[in-house]
Symmetry: C2
Subunit: 182 residues, 2 copies
C-alpha cells in the first residue's frame, strides 16, 4: 500500500491533481484507511509519468496557480490491477490510546480519563466524517467502504462508551498512588 499504488487507485476513479489526491487521502473518502503528504505524492506522480503510467494536462485558470490534471493510462491501469490482485498485506493498526489503556493500572486516573475522552472525540469525528462521505457517495464501492467503516468505528465507539467506566476503575487514584510510592 505504497503511495504509488494509492495514486493509481485514486486516479483510476477519475482524473485529479496531486493537490486533490492529498486532500482525498487526508480529509476525503480515503482518509480513514490511508495517509499521504505532498512530499510523497508529487514525486510519486512524476515517477508514474516517467514510467508511462499516467499523463497530465496543464490547466491554467486565471487567478489561481495552474494545475496538472493527471489521467491514468492503460499501462497504469495494468500496474494497478497487478498490484491489487495479489493478496492484500495485513491492515496496519497502531494505537497510542490502547497502549495507555494497557498501562491503566500504573496511570493516574485523571490522565486515563483525559485519554478516554480524547479518543471518544476522535472516534466521533471519524464516524461523522464517514457518515457525511457516505451520504455524498456516488460509487457503490465507496458506499460499501463507508458502511464498513461506520460499522467498525461505530462499534468501537459504542464499546468504548459502554465499558469506559470499567477501564477507569483500573487506574490508580491519587491516594493509591501515594500509597504505592511508599
Amino acid at each position: 500500500m505504497n503511495i504509488r499504488t494509492l495514486c493509481l487507485a485514486i486516479l483510476s476513479a477519475g482524473d485529479t491533481t496531486g493537490y486533490d489526491i492529498r486532500k482525498l487521502s487526508t480529509e476525503g473518502k480515503y482518509s480513514y484507511f490511508v495517509d499521504a503528504s505532498y512530499g510523497a505524492i508529487y514525486p510519486a506522480l512524476n515517477r508514474l509519468e516517467n514510467d508511462g503510467c499516467v499523463t497530465f494536462r496543464e490547466e491554467s485558470q486565471p487567478g489561481k496557480p495552474p494545475r496538472k490534471v493527471y489521467s491514468i493510462t492503460r499501462e497504469g491501469h495494468r500496474e494497478l490491477i497487478e498490484a491489487l490482485c495479489d493478496a492484500p498485506s495485513k491492515d496496519i493498526f497502531k494505537s497510542e490510546f490502547l497502549l495507555i489503556a494497557m498501562s491503566a493500572s500504573r496511570l493516574p486516573r485523571e490522565a486515563l480519563a483525559r485519554a478516554i475522552e480524547t479518543r471518544e472525540v476522535q472516534l466521533k469525528e471519524e464516524v461523522d466524517l464517514i457518515q457525511s462521505l457516505r451520504d455524498s457517495a456516488k460509487d457503490e464501492g465507496t458506499r460499501w467502504v463507508c458502511d464498513y467503516g461506520m460499522a467498525c468505528m461505530g462499534g468501537s465507539l459504542a464499546h468504548l462508551q459502554a465499558t469506559k467506566d470499567e477501564l477507569l476503575a483500573v487506574a490508580q487514584n491519587e491516594t493509591e498512588r501515594l500509597d504505592a510510592a511508599e
Copy 2:
C-alpha cells in the same frame, strides 16, 4: 507512540529483555496495536539506559546466549507517565484491503473475492489471537484491551461476512470487463 515509549510501557509492566519486547509487540499482547523490530528496539534500549531510564542485569544461563534483563527506573517511569499523559495522537489505520474494496467496480471479480477471503482469514486469526491472550491475561488493563479488540475485530469480521456478497456484486465479471475494453 514511538519505540522508546513502547519499551518503557512494556517494562513498566515488568522486567524483560529486548528479545521479549519484540515478541510481545509482534506476536504477544501488544501485537494488535503496535509493531517493532529488533533494529528499532535494541538501539532504543541502549539509549534509554544511557539516559538513566532503565537499568539491566546480565543473566547468563548455560546453553543459551546471555540475556540482558531490563528494569525501568524511577526516572523512566516519570518519562513514561509524562509521555502517556498528554492527549494520545490519533490511531493510525492503514488498509490495503479497503483500497481494493474502494476500487471494486474496476477490478475483476476473482481478484476481489481473493482479497475478501484473505482479509477474512487475517481477521479470524487476529480474533483468535486476542481471544487466547484474553484467556491468559492476569492484568485488568490487558483484559479490557483484549475485550475492546474482540469487539472491534469481531464486529469487523461479522460485518464483512454479512455484506461481502454486496461488495462482490460491485466488481466486474469477465464479460463486463471485455465489454468495457471495447
